[in-house]
């Protein structure tokens, strides 16, 4: 039911979706574990260079070059090194890792093993959010099957190299997707982030060097090893190699997860791949990369979807969640729901984020209900701008950046809510009107 298809798709990570690859024999028949075998015959630096040159950039949100990240791991280390797959997937608008775990769990395992070979690690963990219980079950079975065949454990493929892969489960927390909070959670603690430096590549899990990558990033790696850096890189644009899973949601005729080349035009993505806006409504705005990324207006969508182009457009490619808003959407309400999320998920460790998200939510509630003053709008900007760069982890920025964009790009709509005028987008009487506070 989750699978859709469009002629413009280039299926790499999704190529085994719907083909029964959760079954190990099927997976092996579909070129499964060939990449690990190939990597076992390569030098660690050779693997790192291949991944570096492929232009693969982290699919978790920040878009850091994956091979480069691996190269930061010290060659010699007294403490064990670890690979940690981030499957906490909780960024609103994002539902792609779920499909990878559901259809191709062995590809993630393979990616973890190859990352291990590249940096000289012998242990990997695959962290899956608690809500995805059925996927944790699938992963547990996949790991067990791989052990039973000698693909994991001692002396994999008779190479003399030992590699263990373990699953791990969360229990509901967006913040735990942040890499250092993820390690805390895996160590059995509250997900409070760690100070950096030192970065996880040097001091990570239990003090050992740790590579943390998103599930889609790792699932892309086996394809790069088999197909080669040049092939993968050429699928995308010069500094943005390959393809990625775009999660199309919101006001679209054909929402779904589509695998498209990096640099695919956003307008085409909405109108052709996603089938356009239902009921002949007009497009109002697009959140291009999950809830943390600044909104684009309808005039700004003729842009290639890659990390650098979106940065240039004042937004971010983020996690691949493309959320489409039609003209009937109230931006104030959308900003409010977004802020409610960050307020709920703030771990409370640092004051600008803990207090800032709370004030912002309260201000937005009042504004949306017609109880706002003109100075509230400036206050929203003032608060958000003062959170930027002043929080302990990037969640504070993730809350502030989209808010600033909502106000700056749709200021008129915020003003229309002022002076006891409750939201014009809601049916009359459905929003309880709040008094204007002097």
């Amino acid at each position: 039911m989750h699978l859709v298809s469009h002629p413009d798709e280039v299926k790499v990570v999704s190529k085994r979706f719907g083909k029964g690859a959760t079954d190990l024999d099927r997976y092996l028949a579909l070129d499964g574990y060939k990449a690990v075998q190939k990597a076992l015959g390569m030098q660690p630096d050779g693997i790192i260079n291949e991944v570096k040159n492929s232009g693969l950039r982290g699919r978790g949100g920040a878009g850091f070059n994956t091979g480069l990240k691996w190269s930061f791991v010290p060659k010699q280390s007294a403490k064990p090194k670890y690979i940690l797959c981030n499957g906490d997937e909780s960024e609103p608008g994002t539902c792609k890792d779920r499909l990878i775990f559901e259809h191709d769990p062995h590809a993630v395992i393979e990616g973890v093993v190859i990352a291990g070979l590249a940096v000289g690690s012998h242990t990997g963990y695959i962290y899956i959010r608690g809500e995805y219980r059925y996927l944790s079950n699938l992963m547990q079975k996949a790991i067990k099957d791989a052990y039973a065949r000698g693909l994991l454990g001692k002396n994999i493929f008779g190479s003399g190299y030992d590699f263990d892969v373990y699953w791990h489960g969360g229990a509901g927390a967006y913040e735990v997707g942040e890499e250092s909070a993820l390690m805390e959670s895996l160590e059995g603690k509250r997900g409070i982030p760690r100070i950096r430096p030192p970065f996880p590549a040097v001091v990570g899990l239990w003090g050992g060097p740790t590579v943390i990558n998103n599930a889609e990033t790792l699932a892309s790696v086996p394809h790069i090893i088999l197909g080669g850096a040049e092939w993968y890189s050429n699928l995308g644009t010069p500094k943005n190699g390959g393809t990625r899973l775009f999660c199309l949601s919101g006001h679209l005729n054909r929402p779904g997860v589509y695998e498209l080349p990096m640099g695919y035009n956003l307008k085409k993505m909405i109108y052709e791949v996603g089938g356009g806006i239902p009921n002949r409504k007009k497009l109002k705005a697009v959140v291009p990369g999950g809830s943390s990324t600044p909104v684009l207006t309808a005039d700004e969508i003729d842009a290639p979807m890659d990390f650098d182009s979106l940065m240039k457009a004042g937004s971010m490619l983020g996690s691949g969640g493309v959320v489409v808003l039609d003209e009937t959407t109230c931006i104030v309400k959308f900003a409010l729901r977004t802020m409610k999320f960050y307020r709920h998920e703030s771990c409370g460790w640092c004051i600008p984020c803990r207090e800032g998200t709370d004030w912002l939510e309260k201000t937005l509630i009042r504004l949306h209900a017609g109880g706002g003053l003109k100075k509230d709008i400036d206050n929203i900007l003032y608060l958000s701008e003062n959170m930027l760069g002043r929080t302990f982890c990037p969640l504070g920025d993730a809350a502030a950046m989209p808010t600033i964009a909502f106000v700056k790009k749709f200021r008129k709509e915020f003003e229309d809510h002022l002076e006891a005028r409750p939201c014009a987008f809601e049916a009359a009487g459905s929003v309880e009107r709040l008094p204007v506070m002097a």
Partner: protein
């Protein structure tokens, strides 16, 4: 305190996966909660002893994670996502309908202990919105009618189980 054999098997296997005992804590709490229904004082004391932690340390972790609870929930925990992608496709209407039909507010449980209701953040079903999780099962592309069917099925199943 007794857990199922499945729980114990998984627990001892997991302990062998990490250099420290406490690393098993978060997933273990969730599995324990699934067996007992909630994280009772007894469960907390038991896990604290097994993992060489204080009960306070365990409670500290519990309070951080949104799926973990120290209070009993209904047999069917209805978790309605109202985050952005779902909101755009009618999640509020679904949530309002659930409140009305069950006669409870957020975090409420029906008097027969069959249903409890929660408003949750994104559950990773954005492209198939609006979406709800009932316990661990996903229900997607929902309408109010489909939601009603779902309630009817749960109710039927729940009553049958009770009459066994």
């Amino acid at each position: 305190m007794r857990f199922s054999d499945e729980f114990e098997g998984r627990f001892s296997e997991m302990l062998s996966h990490y250099p420290t005992k406490r690393s098993v804590l978060v997933p273990t709490l969730l599995y324990a909660q699934d067996e007992v229904g909630y994280l009772s004082d007894e469960v907390i004391a038991e896990l604290a002893t097994r993992l060489d932690l204080t009960e306070l340390e365990v409670r500290n972790v519990i309070s951080y994670y949104s799926m973990l609870t120290t209070k009993a929930r209904g047999k069917y925990n209805v978790q309605v996502c109202t985050n952005i992608s779902c909101m755009l496709r009618g999640a509020e209407e679904i949530f309002e309908h659930c409140k009305k039909r069950l006669g409870v507010g957020p975090h409420g449980t029906t008097p027969d202990n069959l249903f409890s209701l929660e408003e949750v953040e994104c559950i990773g079903a954005c492209s198939w919105a609006p979406a709800v999780q009932v316990n661990y099962d996903f229900h997607e592309n929902l309408t109010v009618d489909k939601m009603d069917q779902l309630f009817d099925e749960c109710k039927k199943e729940g009553t049958q189980l009770r009459n066994l």
